[in-house]
Symmetry: none
DNA sequence: TATGAATGAGAGTTCATTCAT
DNA sequence: AATGAATGAACTCTCATTCAT
């Protein structure tokens, strides 16, 4: 057996949580989709809630790690760093798109866990994004404006394709997992960054930013 | 009794669905919060599902009606019409912010109902938004660019404050229901419209668009 | 309105009890089939149980009355009287075949009511049937044999077509309500009476008994 | 534990269905009579309906098997074979008298399941009984007469003691499960067969038919 | 006489979890 | 590590009935 039973449970859970939500998915659903005994969920994860929390934190930890990795890089411009960060987060979510979707939906719930996760993970995300924008403004790269809405706007753009993929695919036949989606979407984002965020004179001259080869436009 | 029991049920349901999600809310929760007998939910709405569907369609119908109302108005510019439309939709959601939040979350589920609602309601929303943008481009008001992402971007901005209000309030102390939130948020959106959507020369000259007094900037 | 609402309820109840049994039929079923408000059942009959008991006793009272009417007639022979009695009971059940079916099924339940009805009604039926058979034996018309089984056998034959009409129609395409069924069935019963009950020498001579014209063989 | 919990459920269900009917019995009744958790009924039988169907089909399958066993035997006369068949069916029902009573009552309902069971099981019963009677007529053992009513009559006699045992015990103090009941009842049936079914000349000579010792008269 | 709203009780089923094996 | 049996709690919904109108 290639995949351990524990992994099979995770895979099944992710897929079901993503489609039906946490409360809409039963342990039996998961077990039967994973071809595994029901009791195993409790055995391996200490129950449905444990499995759920593991999925949430794993995703968010990876998410944070991506941010940290990008923030630690040295870039010529804040603009390029921001675009690289956004790109990496899109790729991370694309790789784990089922979990991503699940996490984004569950994060709209009003529970103790969600509040905790926000404090633990999203606060860091907020902090790092704000730091980046603030630096850009200080350096004169970005236009001065209310920082809150800018950060929120950026975050919304990052998350949207994996929060409403169903909407995109149903109404626009856009599959957020297909190879070139991120490239196309990045073009849109880059435009936003250059027009809305950066100071205007620079906008026509600087057209490229450094990226790993694989995601070059 | 001022509020009929049927209305009390709706109010309770909206509040609970919004916080815990549809599957996370039990009929008994609703009934007890509404100070009403459990059986009354089935009596008035034909069950939990019926109540849920009524809430969803009611909200979406009202949403569409707002769009229709705005599209039928005559404006000097597409820009002003777009901004007025966005503003009205924000106000509509603000008035029904509990339902709005519930609907936006449930719309990320993968169910037959959601698919139907998308076809019935969101397809119209998409159609009208696209029409508006396309007209603006034809008239030379808006810059030519991929229409898909533009529409999606606009929709995302409209919806975001009521899809993730919890995030905003928890991390930014932004209450999306407070009186001036819409004004502040509109300023941000207007900036986006002028910078990203409109052709640049005009951007510094036209600064106002017609709105009812109450929402003047 | 030709039929009063009370009668409409009775009709609907009879049809439903007959098909689904008492416990399998809800007051709402009855009311909706009768196009009548649910509360009317309680109003007119003091509840589902009251309606049920009224149907049961009405049928059984009529049943007893038929027996009494036949027993009081004067016949030349016990054989003819027995056959006339059987015939009348078949006709009575045929006229009220829905109630008949319902009563016969419900009579196989084990409840206080059933026990009471047995004591009140079926005991009389038993008494009269036994009397008739006993007289026939005393007069030398009927062969002497265990009276218990004979009476039970006769009763079973009387009841069978309305206790298992569904069986007959499903497997034999015999409709127990069609005009000539009773005639055909009586021929069978008469054969049984003549062969099994009567002394043999007489069997070929006496061939007819007095009946209303319509059911003449 | 001698009896498994599954068996305990079956026993309790049979007893309750028999007394109160299927619709009159609740799963909780069954579980509490069986000293078992309510959920176990759904676990083992997939719900009340599943349990019910299992009981029905199990009984009817056994019933058919008895018929098949008798039909396959070789007898000197059709009369003896018929009597042996009837005897075996009485014994089978006597052994499972609770289920028998339940099945016979439920078979008078008008449901999809009943229609299916009739097609599946009772059609075979009808076929075999008809075959036996027809052979008897061809061989000259049985008097020629309408075969339908004969078969129905026989079936009615076979079933009656277990369809209306309550009637018998209440009004006649006849317990259909007591050891000698079948013997006494068989005497009555044999009389019917000899008088009504067989040709008359033979009736006084042939008085016995081969049976296993245990049921010799 | 008739009704729609409302109710408490109980229906059958599913839930996540535990336990002995 | 893995399982099938078993459980108590909770689920949604329907039940027959009552009540004010």
């Amino acid at each position: 057996m290639k995949e351990t039973k524990k992994e099979k449970i995770i895979d099944a859970a992710v897929r079901l949580f993503q489609t039906q939500g946490y409360d809409g998915t039963s342990v039996r659903d998961i077990a039967s989709k994973a071809n595994v005994n029901v009791a195993l969920v409790s055995y391996h994860f200490g129950g449905k809630k444990g499995l759920y929390e593991e999925l949430m934190t794993q995703f968010l930890e990876g998410y944070l790690k991506v941010i940290k990795g990008e923030v630690d890089k040295t870039f010529g411009s804040c603009r390029d760093q921001l675009l690289s960060l956004i790109h990496s987060l899109l790729e991370y979510q694309s790789t784990n798109h089922f979990v991503a979707r699940m996490v984004h939906r569950e994060m709209t719930m009003d529970s103790v866990l969600v509040r905790e996760l926000m404090s633990t993970y999203l606060r860091k995300e907020k902090h790092d994004l704000e730091g980046l924008i603030r630096t850009g403004m200080r350096r004169g790269e970005f236009r001065k404006q209310a920082i809150d809405f800018v950060v929120i706007h950026i975050r919304t753009m990052i998350i949207m394709p994996y929060q409403s993929p169903h909407y995109l695919s149903e109404l626009y036949q856009i599959t957020t997992t297909e190879p070139y989606f991120i490239d196309r979407y990045m073009k849109h984002i880059r435009q936003w960054v250059d027009l809305c965020l950066c100071k205007h004179m620079e906008l026509s001259t600087s057209t490229s930013y450094l990226l790993p080869r694989s995601i070059s436009q």
